[in-house]
């Protein structure tokens, strides 16, 4: 067990090193943009995975925590001058508090009831944000550029700093998942996921376990939202709070393999470039082919590899030990 955990950490370190070298030969701005978005979603989906995968609570409202992080860090910067390198922690904290506030009543619901409740809460905040003047309403908020800086997390001359920022984010969320896998809470999560009633009978405190997962997941998602806001320089309810974003955050983990360390990485590496490329080559004129491809891929993977694409790499007979059986 311990040796396996150490091997995984080592593998994570190797992956980090390789990914750090990856952007160096790339000069093309479009490809770098793709890399940044993919790395960002590796982190976001791993954050979702903590609650949805390890703990088994399928949230379809993570856009709320993403948007909270984006708006909080942006507004603190614009109104109080707090640099986003600190503001992202504030954004993460607000997102974590929101995740706890959503989780406390909703965790009493199981299965589909919970999933629908998370959608509804996120949509309420989306609709309120559309009508909230202090958030810029439907027209959104621009973040003014004041020169390249690691303090303000703004870079215009090169995309490389954002690659490393996104990589650091993805790596830290991965590390968080790795740490939690070995803690008591991590074991509780898997018990809660597999059979909440049996877990309770074994003195697992179900609600607190779920709340810990929600808080960590919300925090990490919020930080991702703040980084995204700095990268794009403009946020509005449609880009940081809308329902399709909730699905996009969950999908890499689902396609790659839920409740695993490598699932979100594998899923994002496949899904994000595919969806970006098909959108720019096929979706520009609104033909809908990009959506057909995207939806078709989801159906295909869900039916063909229900345990996620990671199952392809698992040793024979060992598959599914970590994909879980729900």
């Amino acid at each position: 067990m311990l040796r396996r955990r150490r091997r995984r950490l080592l593998a994570g370190g190797v992956a980090l090193l390789l990914l750090a070298l990856l952007p160096l030969p790339i000069g093309d701005v479009y490809t770098l943009n793709l890399l940044i978005l993919t790395l960002l979603y590796v982190g976001l989906s791993q954050a979702w995975n903590i609650l949805g995968g390890y703990c088994g609570q399928i949230s379809l409202g993570h856009a709320l925590y993403f948007g909270a992080g984006a708006y909080v860090s942006t507004l603190l910067y614009l109104h109080l001058g707090l640099p986003p390198s600190l503001g992202l922690f504030a954004g993460g904290l607000v997102a974590a508090v929101l995740a706890l506030a959503v989780g406390w009543p909703c965790f009493r619901l199981s299965g589909h009831y919970y999933a629908i409740a998370t959608i509804v809460v996120a949509v309420i905040f989306y609709l309120l944000a559309l009508n909230a003047d202090f958030l810029g309403g439907a027209s959104g908020v621009y973040i003014p550029f004041k020169g390249d800086s690691w303090v303000a997390l703004q870079f215009r001359t090169s995309k490389l700093p954002f690659v490393y920022l996104a990589l650091a984010y993805a790596a830290l969320v991965w590390l968080l998942a790795w740490i939690m896998e070995g803690t008591r809470a991590g074991f509780y999560w898997r018990a809660v996921k597999d059979d909440p009633i049996a877990a309770r009978s074994l003195a697992v405190r179900v609600l607190p376990s779920k709340l810990v997962a929600a808080g960590l997941s919300g925090f990490a998602t919020g930080v991702g939202g703040a980084i995204y806001a700095q990268y794009v320089g403009y946020i509005d309810p449609d880009s940081v709070l809308a329902m399709p974003l909730s699905i996009l955050i969950a999908l890499p983990a689902v396609l790659g393999g839920v409740g695993t360390l490598w699932g979100p990485l594998l899923g994002a590496a496949l899904l994000i470039p595919l969806s970006e490329l098909s959108r720019s080559y096929l979706g520009g004129s609104g033909h809908g082919v990009d959506l057909m491809l995207y939806g078709g891929l989801i159906m295909l993977v869900a039916l063909w590899r229900p345990e996620g694409l990671l199952g392809l790499f698992a040793r024979r007979g060992g598959a599914g030990t970590h994909a879980g059986t729900a």
């Binding site: 299965g111 891929l297 229900p306 879980g324």
Partner: protein, 291 residues
């Protein structure tokens, strides 16, 4: 606010609520039968609306007469979706709950893209028909005829669903809902019942969509809002309960109309969703749910 304005508000809430109720009934039927939430439910509504629009434009037949045609069409679509996707999703070995959620999400995205591809992004509406743009005025209250007809047809569809529940097939549905394993021993083909359940659920949306097309713009993404309200209606009424769907649908129509009137039309959904959350806190299984 004058009395006429209050009656007007409640009336429009009731008529919209009946549509919501019928859309939700289809969702509730499928969920009650096999524990699957159809996240592509709004897209079935969209398909029904397009079918009505193009049948009307192609043949010039009165949209009201097209309702049974669209219902039968959607019945077929529902059966096909069950046979090609859902039956397989029910049979997977790992992550069954998650596969069910994401398979219907994938279908929803696919159907939206397909509609965009086939019909373009334009808003379509049925311009002239027996009822289009006509209203009846009574004591200062205006009753738009397409909405009124939609309300009546939705009530008839509910009556039909309740009648079906009393037939041999309806009893087989109920038995399958109660205990999937036991019915197999009684010689009931579960797979066939599930397929017919999907057909019936989709046909309900078909009727709602055919009526909705008479007074609402049709576009590839028209389903999203109606689907969200349908999930809320079903959760509010209690999953699997027909009477619950009807009452919750009307309640939601009224809450929406009152919120739009008292606050701001752009906030009408916030009122609906807020009421849902409130009920959830007090009674997690919904008004009529038997958890």
């Amino acid at each position: 606010m004058s009395l006429a304005a209050v009656v007007q508000m409640l009336l429009s809430g009731l008529l919209m609520g009946l549509i919501y109720a019928l859309v939700a009934a289809g969702l509730s039927l499928i969920f009650g039968l096999m524990d699957v939430v159809n996240f592509a439910h709004g897209e079935l509504l969209m398909l029904a609306m397009y079918a009505t629009f193009f049948l009307w434009r192609g043949t010039g037949i009165e949209p009201l007469l097209l309702v049974p045609v669209v219902a039968i069409l959607l019945f077929g679509v529902g059966m096909v979706i069950y046979r090609t996707l859902i039956a397989r999703a029910l049979g997977v070995r790992a992550n069954r709950g998650m596969v069910q959620i994401f398979i219907t999400f994938g279908l929803a995205i696919f159907l939206q893209g397909a509609a965009q591809f086939a019909f373009g992004g334009d808003f379509r509406s049925i311009g002239h028909s027996l009822l289009a743009n006509r209203t009846v005025a009574f004591a200062g209250v205006y009753l738009p005829l397409p909405q009124a007809a939609a309300g009546v047809v939705c009530l008839l569809a509910f009556a039909a669903l309740l009648l079906i529940a009393r037939t041999e097939f309806g009893r087989a549905l109920e038995a399958t809902r109660e205990d999937r394993e036991a019915v197999a021993l009684l010689g009931i083909d579960r797979d066939r019942i599930f397929a017919l359940g999907w057909g019936l659920g989709a046909a309900s949306v078909g009727v709602a969509g055919a009526m909705l097309a008479g007074f609402y713009y049709t576009s590839p993404d028209v389903g999203a809002n109606f689907a969200l309200i349908a999930y809320v209606t079903v959760a509010l009424g209690g999953f699997g309960s027909l009477a619950g769907a009807l009452l919750a649908g009307v309640l939601i129509g009224e809450v929406e109309a009152v919120t739009a009137q008292l606050f701001d039309p752009s906030l009408k959904q916030v009122g609906v969703l807020g009421v849902y959350l409130l009920v959830l806190l007090v009674r997690p299984r919904g008004l009529f749910g038997t958890l």
